[in-house]
Every structure is written in C-alpha cells, then in structure tokens.
C-alpha cells in the first residue's frame, strides 16, 4: 500500500479536505498539499478593519500594491487609463500596511481603514 500524493488531488478535492477532516489513508503523504495551500483559506475573516479607496486622492503610485503582504490588492485601470487598487476581502487581513504607505494627494490619504462591526 502506498501513500497518496498531493498531485493526485484537484482543487475541488482540496476544498473538501479542509472541510471534511480526512483520515490518514486519504491524506496526501508527508504533510504535502497541492501547490497554493492557502488558496481556499479565508484569512479575510481575521480582519477587524478593511481598507477602502477614496479614488480622487489616488495618484496611481502602486505603493499599496507592492507593499500588500498578502497580494490582496489588484490594480485596475479606470476609463482614463489610470490604475487604482481593488481589495480582495477574502484574503485581506486588515493589516493597514497599504493605508500607512499610501502617500495620497496633498496630504489626503487615498486608502482609509474602516472598522468592521
């Protein structure tokens, strides 16, 4: 009898693994998982604050994009061809790094944190 490999498992199986609590015979060996083991892990529910964009203060500097430790920011172009951040709240832990780094415009931040109730 051989152990299961993580490559034998697809994304759908992997979601079940998190939810179903598999036994050791079904579990891939050596604590291994398909690549991207955090893909289905909703770290967004750790957050007690979430970032929000004030688009008129955004200068498209990309600082938030590069600083985000969780790759939870995507830069999306608007009609004028300027890129602004979009936040993925499934993964965003509300760490506030983006808001802290945001230079804003004339002293007004483009990213502000709002408390989650």
């Amino acid at each position: 009898m051989q152990d299961v490999l993580p490559t034998d498992i697809n994304d759908e199986d992997f979601k079940k693994w998190v939810a179903e609590k598999w036994g050791y015979k079904k579990l891939p060996m050596a604590g291994s998982t398909p690549a991207g083991s955090a893909k289905f892990f909703r770290t967004g529910d750790w957050a007690n604050k979430q970032p929000h964009l004030i688009v008129e203060n955004c200068i498209s500097c990309y600082k938030c994009y590069f600083y985000c430790p969780d790759n939870a920011i995507t830069m999306v172009e608007d009609a004028d061809g300027k890129a602004h951040p979009e936040f993925d709240y499934f993964y965003c832990k509300g760490c506030e790094v983006c808001a802290h780094e945001c230079p804003g415009k004339k002293g007004n931040k483009a990213i502000v944190m709002e408390d989650l109730k």
Binding site: M1, Q2, D3, L5, P6, T7, K21, W22, G23, Y24, L27, M29, A30, G31, S32, T33, P34, A35, G36, S37
Partner: protein, 391 residues
C-alpha cells in the same frame, strides 16, 4: 572481486562511493568520523558525481539533506554522538517529510563528560523519530547495510530515512577484510537513479512540510507509523534479494545456537561478536546458551523476536547504552515488552556495559552468563545492572 582491508568508516565511505549519491551534506569536524572525510576525497578525485555540501553545523547538515532529498536526490550523510544531538530536531522532520536519507552513525558516547568512544545511546535516543535503525556487527555488514539502506528507504511503501550504526572505534576505526562490490551491480540493485514520487518539481508544484494543527497532526504522524510497519516486509525482501545476489544472509533478528538453547543473550552491534565467541566457549562446556542479535532495531520485529525466545528459560539483554531512571535498559524495555505481548515468561537479566568505549571481554560475557544463570535457576529475574562499573 578480491577482498580489501578497511576500517568500518572506510567500508561505509566505499559503499557510499559505489552508490554515488546525488548529494552528501555533512559537518566535517568532531564528533564526525572519517566517513565523510574519505568521501570528500572521492569527490575531490572525481570518483563520484556527488554534490558535497560542507555545512556549518549538524543541524544544517540534516536540513540540507532534507532539501536535497525533497528535490528528488539520493542523499547520504554521516554523524555521531553530539552531532546527532544537534541535528535531533531535524531528524524528526526527515521522517515526517518522508525523505529516504541514509545516515551512517559511528555510535559514540554522548556528552557529558565529553567522550567520543563506542556507545549506542546516540542512535537509540532517536528510536522514536520514525527513522529505520540498523546496527552492524562487522565491517562487511556495515558495507552491505549501507547499500541496502538506500533500497529499503527509497521503496515506495516506505520512504523513510535509514540510520546504519557502527560501534565507534570498535568498528569505525578497526580494520577488517570485506568483500566489496561494484557500481554497476549497485546501480542495478537500487533500480537506477532514485525515482521520487513526492518531490519538488516546477512542472508539478506541491507544498511540503506544512503546519498541521489539532485537525491533522495525528493523521500525518499515523502515516509515518504505517510506513514503519510496511518497512518490515521491504527489509525482509531486500535481505532475501541480497542473499540471492551476494550470498550473504541477513535477517532483521538473528538467532545463533538458539534452537535447543535454554538461555540466550540479546544484543546489538559489535558486542554480538564477543557474545558469539562466549556462546561457543560456553557450549563447549555443555551450557545450553544461544544468542539473539538485533540487526534492525526500528521497526522492531516483535513477531520474529518472540519466535526465537519461545523456548527460552532465561533472557540476558545486554546493551552498550543506558537510560537513567528507567525500568531497565533501552533495548531491555523492548525485549521485556515483546515477551509480555507474546505471553512468554522467561526470567530476565538486563545489563548495560561498555559505556564510553570501555572494553567488555569475552570472559566477561561468560561471567554475565554465569551470574544470570545462577539467578534464573532460582527462578528470579535480575534487576538492570551496570556491568563493570567501579563502586
């Protein structure tokens, strides 16, 4: 092939040479022995294709081995004594990551006081780690066991690291004749290059060595538990194949003069040589005594062991290791629990001997036998006793 005279260290280095591993990572100074020093000669002389990684500590040595093995390589290393203590944390990860690393251990006493001579406590201390643990009695056995260790560890039913122990100085630095084999034979015996089912492959990405909390830790450990049990059949099959190909017969647990014996020594490693000679001498005097040699300590071959003990009136467990405050020796506890499990009730005597490399001569083994037998005749067990310690 003609025989060569080599030390135990050299025998293992020669075995590693013909295996031609992809990576050897080792820490090169004390308590390291000559094994990797010799091997580094082979690397420098271009006799192997191995990437030799000279790391900064034993902790890093085992870590580098795990990395190399996870990448799919065939990996060898060597350590001893305090070196094993420093890599202890990583030894557990080698087995849980299912990396079939082969490590030669020149069994040496652990500090303190500082001592570098023969004693098996270092290897016995990681008995619970998931490593397959083998002890050699002779240099030939060390040579053969090192080659077979790759085959056993890499088997897809097993995928566990393997430690091959040789008693420090008694084997590691003493010269014996061995019959070497050649690289073509070994390449074929091991089935060519290592084929790793689980490995880091950019075309087939996986994550390994992840966090397992209350929800999955027990299941991950249970896989190692099962792999240890499956290793038993693989070890038996590998020994059988070796006998067919090379003519030398090995068993995980071996009986000597055991069929009609009333009493028997149980021991591991080079001590079995002296025990065998003591058995021969005692037999010549009409004593019905035999020897059970444990070659493979983990996984523990309980069924095979109880087959050999079933007709015994007394068992004399003798080990070159110690455990403070315990209900007996380290090996002794395995012996006693196996007897209990098989509902066998011979008398038992337990000895710790030869710590820190202290000699134990053949006549002392005979004295151990006399002392034990006297007690057995009265139907009494003997408590765990340190042989040869001055009062």
């Amino acid at each position: 092939m003609s025989r060569i005279a080599v030390t135990g260290d050299d025998a293992i280095a020669q075995a590693a040479k013909i295996v031609n591993p992809d990576v050897v990572a080792a820490y090169p100074i004390t308590p390291q022995t000559i094994i990797v020093e010799r091997f580094s000669d082979f690397v420098a002389d271009g006799e192997v294709d191995t990437e030799f990684v000279c790391v900064e500590s034993e902790h890093s040595a085992m870590s580098a081995c795990i990395g190399a093995s996870t990448a799919g390589g065939r990996v060898f290393t060597s350590s001893a004594s305090a070196g094993i203590m420093l890599m202890f944390e990583i030894l557990q990860i080698a087995s849980s990551s299912r990396t079939p690393i082969v490590m030669a251990v020149a069994n040496r006493a652990i500090s303190g006081p500082i001592n570098i001579h023969g004693e098996q406590t270092d290897q016995l201390l990681f008995r619970d780690s998931g490593w397959i643990s083998i002890f050699a009695e002779t240099n030939q056995e060390a040579y053969d066991s090192t080659i077979m260790a790759f085959k056993i560890g890499e088997h897809s039913d097993v995928l566990l690291p393997v430690a091959v122990g040789i008693d420090g100085f008694i084997l590691s630095h003493a010269i014996e004749g061995i019959e070497p084999t050649d690289r073509e034979f070994v390449f074929e015996f091991l089935g060519g290059e290592r084929k790793a089912a689980l490995r880091l492959d950019p075309d087939n990405p996986v994550s390994v060595g992840l966090l397992h909390l209350q929800d999955y830790y027990m299941e991950a450990r249970a896989q190692v538990r099962d792999a240890q049990q499956r290793a038993k059949q693989v070890i038996i099959d590998t020994y059988k194949e070796w006998k067919e190909l090379k003519g030398r017969e090995y068993h995980p647990v071996e009986g000597y003069m055991i069929e009609d014996a009333d009493y028997a020594f149980v021991t591991m490693g080079s001590g079995a040589g002296n025990a065998r000679t003591a058995v021969d001498e005692l037999r010549a005097k009409g004593e019905k005594v035999g020897l059970i040699k444990i070659r493979v300590y983990r996984p523990w071959f309980g069924k095979e062991f109880s087959q050999l003990t079933k007709n015994l009136k007394g068992v004399i467990s003798v080990e070159r290791a110690h455990s403070f405050g315990s209900p007996g020796g380290i090996l002794g506890q395995d012996v006693k629990s196996t007897l209990f499990d098989s509902k066998q009730t011979p008398c038992i005597a337990e000895y710790c001997y030869g710590l820190g490399g202290r000699d134990c001569l053949v006549k002392e083994w005979s004295e151990m036998y006399d002392r034990s037998k006297k007690s057995f005749m009265e139907g009494k067990n003997l408590p765990y006793f340190w042989w040869g310690v001055r009062v």
